[in-house]
């Protein structure tokens, strides 16, 4: 491979878009060529700077509402539900008595909102509820209530909000950085949700006490999302993502290893 061609293919090599044999030839040249190594280092530096510079900004909440209002026949019930939840969570004074009424209506609403009502079994309903909740968390800017990549911030945040202490582990090393946590209401009870990321795909991990599945994760697919369900140390776990089945498998493997460590 000559020098000109190597320079041309350099971005492709950097972005891991070359085939294996091309990449090997490329590396052979790179080893002996000062100039190409310099350009390669520039690529790496610029790419790292771009990724550190917080250039990606989430869509404002108002835009989501504007779009939903502008689209024909998309009911806006979800927004009001989200807002009600947010108000409850954001109110600071988490006294449970008035919250009970709110929660009851949230449950009523979420059950009535289940889209495919062909008399689903409780399991199907839970799965649907989780998929709905996952989608809602992506849409209405309600991915986190606490934003932190530090498990020592996320874990204490749940104190006093739940009647159990969810295990929070850090998986940044494995490629799944923890990005935050949130409180949700699933299966008629408050649950902890830890939010991880794989590349740009959020992974929601739901945890609540119980013993409703085996230790071996059961994977299912619904509406393009992959879900896995298992039980460990007296806790129910549900993980859901759009990253893909293989990615979800790997995430769970790393999570279990870390929990066991």
């Amino acid at each position: 491979m000559d020098h000109e061609l190597v320079l041309e293919l350099l971005p492709g090599y950097f972005d891991q878009e070359l085939g294996l044999s091309e990449a090997l030839e490329f590396e052979r040249h790179l080893e002996g060529c000062e100039q190409c190594r310099h350009v390669y280092a520039q690529h790496r530096e610029v790419s790292a700077q771009l990724r550190q510079a917080v250039l990606r900004v989430n869509a404002p909440q108002a835009l989501a509402q504007r779009i939903e209002a502008a689209l024909p026949s998309l009911p806006a019930t979800r927004e009001t539900l989200g807002e009600r939840f947010r108000r409850w969570l954001g109110s600071g004074s988490l006294s449970w008595a008035p919250v009970g009424a709110t929660l009851a209506s949230v449950v009523a609403l979420s059950v009535s909102m289940s889209l495919y009502l062909a008399v689903p079994s409780p399991d199907q309903r839970l799965t649907q509820q989780l998929v709905d909740d996952h989608i809602r968390s992506l849409q209405s800017d309600h991915l986190f209530d606490v934003v932190s990549t530090d498990k020592h911030t996320v874990k204490p945040w749940f104190n006093g909000k739940l009647d159990f202490a969810p295990p929070v582990v850090d998986l940044a090393q494995q490629g799944y950085p923890l990005v935050g946590g949130r409180l949700d209401f699933v299966n008629q009870r408050p649950v902890a949700v830890m939010v991880y990321r794989y590349k740009l795909h959020p992974i929601n991990l739901y945890v609540w006490p119980g013993n409703e599945a085996g230790a071996k994760p059961q994977v299912l697919e619904q509406r393009g999302y992959h879900l896995a369900h298992w039980n460990a140390a007296g806790m129910n776990y549900w993980a859901i993502t759009d990253a893909g089945a293989g990615e979800l498998d790997a995430f769970i493997r790393d999570l279990l290893a870390q929990l066991a460590a």
């Binding site: 320079l7 510079a53 900004v57 989430n58 502008a70």
Partner: protein, 178 residues
């Protein structure tokens, strides 16, 4: 299980990519308010075209609509300017920062070095900026970028190469300080 309606499928497949749509619109228009308009218009178009969507990659599909909407929007502005030559670079630079305060998330406090990277990317020519944003911020593959921008994969690669080198040149003084 009953078949979901078109609206439900749209809601499930397309709405969750709003952050990507807004981000791409924001870096194309370089203005928060315009980005919101472009993203909203793109969603309306996407909804209209959705019955014809057969692919699997809803995000890339949506982003190609965002990009097309942006170019139509530029065209309309150019026609509105009736006769005067519309200069995308000038126009955006002079109005660019006035609306940023509308979006509290855009007013994140950035370090000086982050600010410089921001300015460098803003200053990049559109044809390079769009591929850099799709690659570095949206993490799309060359194949997806080629489909969105409507250019061959080889051109994606060379534009990314040139774009990154221009950024490197713009950021060089900053890197020497370190």
């Amino acid at each position: 299980m009953a078949d979901p309606t078109i609206e439900q499928r749209f809601k499930i497949l397309v709405l969750p990519h709003l952050n990507s749509a807004f981000n791409v619109a924001r870096w194309l228009t370089r203005n928060d308010q315009d980005a919101q308009d472009v993203a909203q218009e793109a969603y309306l178009r996407a909804f209209k075209f959705f019955p014809g969507f057969r692919g699997e990659n809803a995000r890339a599909w949506l982003l190609s609509i965002v990009r097309n909407t942006f170019y139509t929007w530029c065209q309309e502005r150019r026609e509105q300017a009736s006769g005067t030559v519309f200069d995308e670079e000038m126009h955006s630079l002079e109005t660019s920062d006035t609306h940023q305060d509308d979006n509290p998330e855009a007013t994140l406090i950035r370090s000086e070095s982050q600010e410089q990277v921001h300015r460098a990317l803003r200053g990049l020519r559109l044809e390079f900026r769009e591929v850099i944003v799709l690659r570095e911020l949206e993490e799309l593959s060359y194949k997806e970028i080629a489909a969105i921008v409507g250019i061959p994969i080889g051109t994606v690669m060379s534009r990314l190469g040139r774009g990154r080198q221009q950024l490197a040149a713009l950021l060089a003084p900053m890197n020497q300080e370190k």
